[in-house]
């Protein structure tokens, strides 16, 4: 009976369509046109904001920075003057000859191994253990993720307090066992960068872990269950199943970690003000200082110089990492 009703309905609709095509072509055309216009307006409106944002905050800013890097400010005439590659010449000379620049460059480059070869593996291990539902897993999840939701100012202050030379509880314990660097943990050139790295690892694990945990929990249960039935150990499960299957997420985190080389400065500023004696500054820190002092042309030059180095470097690393791991589909 239902089958019959459906057939009748189809025939009825077919007749209406034929009627519309023969007798009301203009009506159909105008309706179609309206739909197309509506669709185009919708697409236009949806794209308007991101494209405008892209044009202003990416294209304009970067083009302006590039132009600024070929200029210098003339205080007498109150205008920017074109100086060709002079800013690049002096910046490269200072990078190679001044101790402060060399230190900043080394500090920046050290963030590459720290974020990618210490923070990232620790995040993968932590995410895996949470996935395996270790006792108090949910509590650990909150503890690990807490640094990512607390303001960096508060976080750096509490971290600094832990190692305060007079009141710091961690410092007191270390002092008891004879570990007490001259000038304090953030006042000694040998300890200040390791302390900043320690902070970045502590605060960075949580952020990575959330993304990794999400990627692991989306894996097909059957694969993991069948491996477990086959008696796979935790080490093999992590290295032979989990890591290959979440490789795209690891690649993304690796690329984000690599960009830290060129962008990190806030942690160094809040923990040690770039000191002692500029020993914890990074390239991005120096750019920030230059901007604050009004020296936009030198800041733009350093920025462009490291963009020329950074973009190919990051593209190469991305391709290299993607090639290492297989593209697992599930």
């Amino acid at each position: 009976m239902n089958y019959l009703k459906r057939k009748v309905k189809n025939i009825k609709n077919g007749c209406i369509d034929v009627f519309n095509v023969i007798f009301r072509p203009s009506l159909v055309e105008s309706h179609y046109k309206k739909r197309v216009i509506k669709k185009k307006v919708f697409i236009f409106l949806m794209l308007l904001l991101p494209i405008t944002q892209f044009l202003i905050f990416f294209v304009y800013v970067n083009v302006d920075t590039l132009i600024l890097s070929f200029k210098r400010y003339d205080y007498i005439n109150g205008d920017y003057l074109f100086v060709g590659f002079e800013n690049y010449r002096t910046t490269i000379r200072d990078l190679l000859s001044l101790e402060q620049f060399k230190t900043a460059l080394i500090n920046s480059l050290l963030f590459f191994p720290v974020t990618n070869f210490i923070t990232l593996p620790l995040s993968i291990i932590s995410a895996y253990f949470l996935f395996r539902k270790v006792p108090f897993g949910k509590v650990f999840k909150v503890i690990f993720f807490l640094p990512s939701i607390i303001s960096i100012v508060v976080l750096t202050m509490s971290f600094q307090f832990m190692f305060d030379p007079i009141f710091g509880p961690v410092n007191s314990i270390l002092n008891e066992i004879g570990i007490n660097p001259e000038g304090g943990w953030f006042g000694n050139k040998k300890t200040v960068m390791p302390m900043i790295f320690l902070y970045c690892i502590w605060a960075g694990i949580g952020f990575n872990m959330v993304l990794l945990n999400g990627a692991i929990s989306r894996l097909p249960k059957e694969v993991i269950e069948s491996a477990r039935i086959d008696g796979i150990g935790m080490y093999k499960e992590l290295t032979k199943i989990i890591i290959p299957m979440i490789w795209p997420t690891i690649t993304t985190l690796f690329v984000i970690g690599t960009t830290a080389v060129f962008t990190i400065f806030l942690q160094n500023m809040l923990l040690a003000n770039g000191g002692p004696s500029g020993s914890s500054k990074t390239i991005a820190y120096i750019v920030t200082e230059l901007v604050r002092s009004g020296n936009l042309t030198d800041a733009a030059t350093i920025g462009m110089l490291f963009t020329f180095i950074g973009v190919p470097m990051i593209m190469f690393i991305k391709r290299f990492i993607e090639r290492i791991g297989e593209n697992v589909e599930y």
Partner: protein, 445 residues
Amino acid sequence: MKKYVKLFSSASFVFMILLTASCSPESSDKTRLRIAFAETGYGREWLEEIAVAYEKENPDVEIVLDGNPNMTANAGPKIENGRDLADIYFLLETNWQLWATKGYLEDLSDLYQMEVDNGKTVEEKLIDEVVDFGKINDKYYALPWNDGVTGIVYNAGMFEEKGWEVPETFDELIDLAEQIKDEGRGIKPFTWPGQYSAYWNFVVYGWWAQIEGIEGMREFFAFETPEVYKQQGKLKALEAFETLIGDQSNSVNGVNGLIHTQAQMQFANGLAAMIPNGIWIETETEAALRDDFRMKMMPLPTLDGAVEPNINNTMLGDFIVVPKGAAHKDIAKDFLKFMSTDEMLLLYTEKTGSPRPFEYDPTQIEGLSEFVQSCLDIWKNSTNFYIISKNPMYFANDLNTFPKSGAPYGDIYLGDTTAQQVWQGDYDYVVERWDEFKEKNGIED
């Protein structure tokens, strides 16, 4: 349903209009003068009271205050893009010359010629040495905000209790440091903020000026030749610092990692007897000080060979500007003129404990604290030294006192460099780049 949606939309629209109207700065009959200020060591009470006094004399003006410790950094982008501008900005030392030459600041030359009291103009009332502070390309764009007293602050109660004498010479200061370590039962002579080690500029610049004299310092900050970096005063001052603080036992352990508030807390808690600081320390640490805590500023101990033994390093640098795009520029100038009257200058000092660089006598104020009194005595009885440079190489930050690597105090404290190396290093750095800096800043021979 459509009816309700329309009704809701209309109601929301009317509400938004009313809300916007109520937030409009000109909603009342009064003209609103917006004042933005760096709310730091001097607090905000001074400005609140001056604002009340101004409103009393000008009932048609309402003053709105916007204080923020980070105002100096926040003001830059606003002044540059001309949006959401205050009418007056009180800011800490920064490159206002850049804003002035870019045309973002109002020309204040007419303010300098306005009569304040007793027929004196603002320019005539300003201390002679600072008149040109706000001048660039023959126009005045800034007005100096604070004058100052900086140097070594000591725990007066502790000194009296232990019977320690305030040193008059550098040698006596070294002897005192030994005495404190011997008799102080763990008290160290100094604490200081290693993360802001430029606090030692207050003392070192003072010693430098003692050796070179005011003329020598003017010559240095004119930067006419790289040979100014060979001044013996700079070397001797750094050597004095090296003798005093290069001996790590003279500082609390871990000072190199401290910020200014941590160092001030150590001083307030009696961990150290002295701290390099300025006249603002009392208001800045007010909340943390015990009622019975007593401190004073000591006249800077004199170095051997000083030509000007009685020096106060004012560290003048904080300034006041009116943006070109301000809504009420004339009222802003009138307010600044009002602030320059004797009555308001005295009120300013009474509330902040700090003088302003005008010709008046703040020591006549009654009820000042022992600390402020000690500072004002130094300010009144010393040769005040002001850092003012008209050289674009200085505004552009190509040249300064330590151009090679910034304040060298942390390195000297850690023994990573010597006074002689810093002095020679700065000279070599400047000589190598002199022509380049001149060309870069459009300076012709």
